[in-house]
Amino acid sequence: MLSLGCDVGTMFTKTVVMDNGNVIAHDITRNNGTLKELVEASIHSAVSRAGLSLDDIKVRGGTGMGDKYIRIEHANQGIIKSLARGSFWALAGARTVVDLGGLSTTIISLNGAGKVIEYRTSDKCASGSGFFLELAAQALELTVEEMGETVVPPEECAHMSTQCAVFCESEIVSHINDGIEVKSIVGGINYSLGSGIATMINRLGAIPAILITGGVAKSRGVVCALEKHLGVEVVKSVPADHQLIAAVGAALCARDVQQS
């Protein structure tokens, strides 16, 4: 059975096309310009990559901050529900989901059947988000990917004292001025991000298996730092791009709704 899921986040719009529980095509588009059109374009491109037309897909679900821009049935599946559903699809044994998104971090605790027990979303602050990483990368004149590939032992990390995304920039600049190596600064940023995420997980309890999703999950540096702070390993590989999990969840939720 074919299904489609679309997740309009704060920074990216993600669409997946699924066939019998497998992702057969996807699209990730940065949110630039008018979301209504952008979402349509994203859905269109995913569908055409699958070699299909939208009419072929009867099951369609949407989720995310901008779900109101998704002009399909079942467009508002709720981000928590979608993430939980997608994570259970990605790893049936997942008990803790850590979604590292563009503007917020979400921790979900699941029971053995994949049902949400409780969850926490990050506070109203961009610290530790994908957005934060982008600002930091800009200040360092690196790409987010380059930052993600930098893994530095804690003792070599520069100390980052501010968690504010805006002031982080000025701290980076002053570190550069003080002649601190870019590598240690990146390490310091990853280290403090990892610490913040670990704290959030500990508020709910770090019950394994811990699955990480979302764009920031692709940053090896952040994930390594997170594991160090948490003292537990997290599950890093999933059967689809980390960023797509909520979109997959939306597709599956829509299927659940339609089947019931």
Partner: protein, 279 residues
């Protein structure tokens, strides 16, 4: 005598070259990765305009974030004192200066000699700073300098409620997606900026003769909005570019310090060096 003032901020660097009481030349550039690089480049550019080099400078004072890292500056002074001094030189009636920099907004009160009496700065975040406007312009997809003209076409400004610069960016992103006119958003941004700044200004208490300096002073929409919100009129700085006021102030301090040094060399007069400001 040639005096130089050099202001290395978080977004731009400025230099002013002064001969006695006359501005010979000035320059503004975008910051380079290192403050000394910014300082050298901007000062050399300013000197180049009048066919001079760093060697011709008799005394240079640096200011701004990178002030302590400028090798050719003989001493450094905080940008707060410099803005006060520079603005008061440009317009002697000035008693309050609102300086809106890249990541700071300061309100400075000065006495009739241009000496700083009191100041406040935004403390916690970048709301109400140049950085705020810049990020907003980026989201709107326009240049920083286009925000003001764009807002003129507004038919009804929107309210930007978030204080945090990052969260405001998201708010604006969704406004654009909702199809709200960019001009209305631009007007909202300018107004939000003005409101945040006004909060700070109230803390110092507005005196007569308010001037506005820094890059944002060139955004007439923000300036008008502050006038509106606070019910005040700004005095003009004449021909002085509001963005170079900090550098101008540091050049003036350079002159003062040079004079003091001269007096010391001239012989032990006892007592303190005279505080001559304007000749």
């Amino acid at each position: 005598m040639i005096f130089a003032g050099c202001d290395v901020g978080s977004l731009t660097g400025e230099a002013v070259i002064l001969e006695d009481d006359l501005i010979l030349s000035s320059e503004i550039i975008r910051v380079r990765p290192r403050p000394e690089q910014t300082a050298r480049e901007v000062t050399e550019k300013a000197l180049g305009k009048i066919g001079k080099t760093l060697a011709d400078i008799d005394y240079c004072v640096s200011t701004g974030y990178g002030r302590e890292k400028i090798p050719f500056a003989r001493s450094s002074i905080s940008e707060i004192s410099c803005h006060g001094r520079g603005a008061q030189w440009a317009c002697p009636e000035v008693r309050t200066i609102i300086d809106i920099g890249g990541q700071d907004c300061k309100v400075i009160r000065v006495d009739k000699y241009g000496y700083m009496m009191d100041f406040v700065m935004n403390d916690k975040c970048a709301a109400g700073t140049g950085r705020f406007l810049e990020s907003m312009a980026k989201v709107l997809g326009v240049g920083l300098e286009d925000l003001a003209p764009l807002s003129l076409c507004s038919k009804g400004r929107v309210a930007i409620t978030k204080t945090c610069t990052v969260l405001s960016q998201i708010e604006v992103m969704y406004m654009i997606s909702d199809g709200i006119e960019r001009s209305d958003i631009a007007a909202g941004i300018n107004y939000a900026m003005a409101e945040r700044i006004s909060k700070l200004v109230r803390r110092v208490g507005v005196k007569e003769g308010v001037a506005i300096t820094g890059g944002v002073a060139k955004n007439f929409a923000v300036v008008n909005a502050i006038s509106d919100v606070m019910g005040i009129k700004f005095v003009s700085l004449g021909e002085v570019d509001p963005q170079i006021v900090g550098a101008l102030g540091s050049a003036l301090f350079a002159r003062e310090r040079w004079q003091k040094a001269q007096q010391r060399e001239a012989g032990p007069t006892g007592g303190k060096a005279a505080k001559s400001v304007r000749t």
